[in-house]
């Protein structure tokens, strides 16, 4: 069981894509037009800096005096570093719209 989880966790942070309709984006637009939605996903464990190791250690030992619920993250997150330019589409009422930065272009562990 553990090996399975470990294997799963090995997938590094990278750009993934999905074909979705504009309506499915949840931005309030009503359009059946389809587009390619690119997003970032994956593990960032190998990108840990001394900051992350130290923070994790001090959180555990209570050296920072923070409670258990504290949200300070001790590992990098897989996030877009750049976004795609505008995407334009025609909605179901035949009106054109342009949305900015709706899809990722590059990912990084930040």
């Amino acid at each position: 069981r553990r090996t399975k989880r470990a294997r799963k966790g090995l997938k590094p942070c990278s750009l993934r894509e999905a074909v979705v309709s504009v309506s499915e984006l949840g931005l309030g637009y009503n359009s059946d037009e389809t587009l390619l939605f690119r997003y970032c996903s994956g593990r960032c464990f190998t990108h840990r800096r001394n900051y992350d190791v130290s923070l994790e250690h001090m959180k555990r030992t209570g050296a920072l005096g923070l409670g258990r619920q504290d949200r300070a993250r001790h590992s990098p997150c897989c996030r877009p570093t750049t976004y795609e330019d505008d995407v334009s589409f025609l909605d179901n009422n035949n009106k054109y719209y342009t949305i900015h930065q709706v899809s990722a272009r590059e990912c990084g562990c930040v």
Partner: protein, 482 residues
């Protein structure tokens, strides 16, 4: 390899020109019929290398500016210059669509050819090289991309029956999944859809322009220049079976900015505007040359070349003469530039003739339909007319007279019937019992009148194999009779 040999060829050509006497050089390039025409940028360079030619060329350009061009042109100096230039490479030079320095090339072309035409001719010679690509290639490509083999499922563009059929929506999807197409499309849409800023300073008299038309046109030209034709053609010429699809097709070029204007100018006025711009003038001449309805050909097109007609139609988009679908009709395609023949005065006839080349152009219409439905549409038997002889067991009355209550036909029912027909080769999927409804398709079909149904049957016949249409008919007729 090809490029290299052309370069080498031109180099050699140059050599001969500069080494021989200038006068013989002038006539050398004009008279050889076997030679493919030089492009006009090159021809102009060649002319400028010879003192005699460049001198005449300069005179000629001066003849063509000025306000009373016709009196200027009639003068001896201008006539002499023209005579010499007719022997020069400039005389039969041509331009390539989308070439480097295209505008310069076209300017050079018209600097000679405007002088050649006595006054304004109705049709002008296209400065573009004739298109030799076999149109079937692009058509085949189109059908491969839309996921169907052109030999089997002609026109049946909607294999997915869970959604209303909209091939224009599918075309937009295909574009969005291609990075270049998506980028270029988003660029022209955002450009054409952007309200012009800074106009709100004087809100009283003039309303702010809805958009920057010039930039919009430029972005559209860029889209059609840079995006592969299999994407752009599919978006502009997608076949439609309902209004929603046809409206999307009409909206492709963002007509509110690129097409419509507050006033509709007279068509001849618009043509005049167009002819004052070398690019628009060239594209219009090219359209007239490639889309001219030719009565004695099978396709009604010059050289039976659909592809050339579509390409020159697209060439007009983004010019002053930008054409578009005039409405969202899916049964009857009408195309027009944004102009009218009102106020033509004594030129009414000429204006109507000009407008007819857009509105009632069989070649153009056939080309568009052939693109959507596959190349062999025209060799098909004509759509099967709805007549009692085809189905003797059903009365014609039930079709032509509203003797049966309209409400007897649920919106979902006919959608169901047509799905069945569209799917005949796989066997009927729809259950024809009364309580059956195609839920997903209820929204699509709002048709209640028999006339619409009849039309649907007719347009359907055009898209199906003839036998399929015949098998299909009884279903529809039975449905109507119930």
């Amino acid at each position: 390899m090809m490029f290299m040999s052309i370069l080498g060829y031109l180099f050699l050509f140059d050599k001969t020109i500069s080494s021989s006497a200038s006068s013989s050089a002038l006539s050398a390039s004009g008279t050889h019929g076997w030679r493919t025409p030089v492009d006009c940028v090159k021809a102009s360079d060649m002319c400028n290398q010879s003192p005699q030619c460049s001198w005449r060329y300069r005179i000629m350009r001066q003849c063509l500016v000025g306000r009373d061009r016709n009196t200027m042109l009639a003068s001896k100096d201008c006539q002499d210059a023209l005579e010499v230039l007719q022997e020069s490479p400039l005389y039969d030079c041509r331009c390539k669509r989308g070439m480097k320095k295209e505008l310069q090339c076209l300017q050079n072309y018209w600097s000679i050819h405007m002088g050649l035409t006595e006054g304004e001719e109705f049709y002008e010679t296209s400065p573009y090289e004739p298109m030799t690509i076999q149109h079937s290639d692009v058509f085949r490509l189109a059908s491969i991309i839309s996921g169907i083999d052109s030999t089997t499922a002609k026109g049946n563009q909607c294999p997915d029956q869970s959604k209303p059929c909209n091939s224009c929506l599918d075309a937009a999807k295909a574009c969005n999944l291609n990075d270049t197409c998506k980028k270029q499309r988003s660029y022209y849409i955002s450009t054409c859809n952007k309200e012009m800023p800074g106009q709100s300073v004087a809100p009283s008299a003039t309303r702010a322009e809805p958009c920057n038309r010039k930039r919009c046109h430029k972005a559209l030209r860029q889209f059609f220049d840079r995006v592969q034709t299999e994407y752009s053609y599919r978006m502009l010429f997608c076949p439609c079976q309902d209004t929603a699809c046809a409206e999307r097709r009409r909206q492709t070029i963002v007509p509110s900015c690129a097409f419509e204007e507050k006033v509709k100018p007279n068509c001849l006025e618009l043509r005049k505007t167009c002819r004052s711009d070398p690019l628009c003038r060239s594209r219009l001449a090219d359209f007239h040359m490639n889309c001219q309805t030719t009565p004695h050909s099978i396709t009604n097109c010059p050289n039976e070349n659909y592809q050339a007609c579509l390409a020159s139609y697209i060439g007009l988009i983004g010019s002053d003469m930008t054409p578009n679908y005039v409405d969202a009709s899916h049964t009857n395609i009408t195309i027009s530039p944004w102009c009218t023949c009102r106020g033509s005065g004594n030129q009414e006839e000429e204006c109507e003739k000009f407008l007819r080349d857009f509105r009632e152009n069989t070649c153009l219409r056939n080309s568009i339909q052939a693109f959507g439905y596959g190349p062999e549409t025209d060799s098909f038997p004509k759509p099967v007319p709805v007549t009692p002889s085809l189905s003797p067991d059903v009365e014609l009355v039930s079709l032509s007279e509203p003797s049966v209550n309209h409400n007897d036909i649920k919106p979902g029912d006919d959608a169901c019937v047509f799905s069945t027909c569209a799917n005949l080769e796989n066997g009927p999927k729809c259950n024809l019992s009364n309580d059956y409804m195609c839920k997903a398709e209820q929204t699509l079909m709002e048709r209640t009148t028999r006339k619409d149904l009849q039309e649907e049957v007719r347009s359907f016949g055009a898209r199906l194999n003839p036998w399929a249409a015949v098998v299909c008919l009884p279903y529809v007729l039975v449905r109507l009779a119930l």
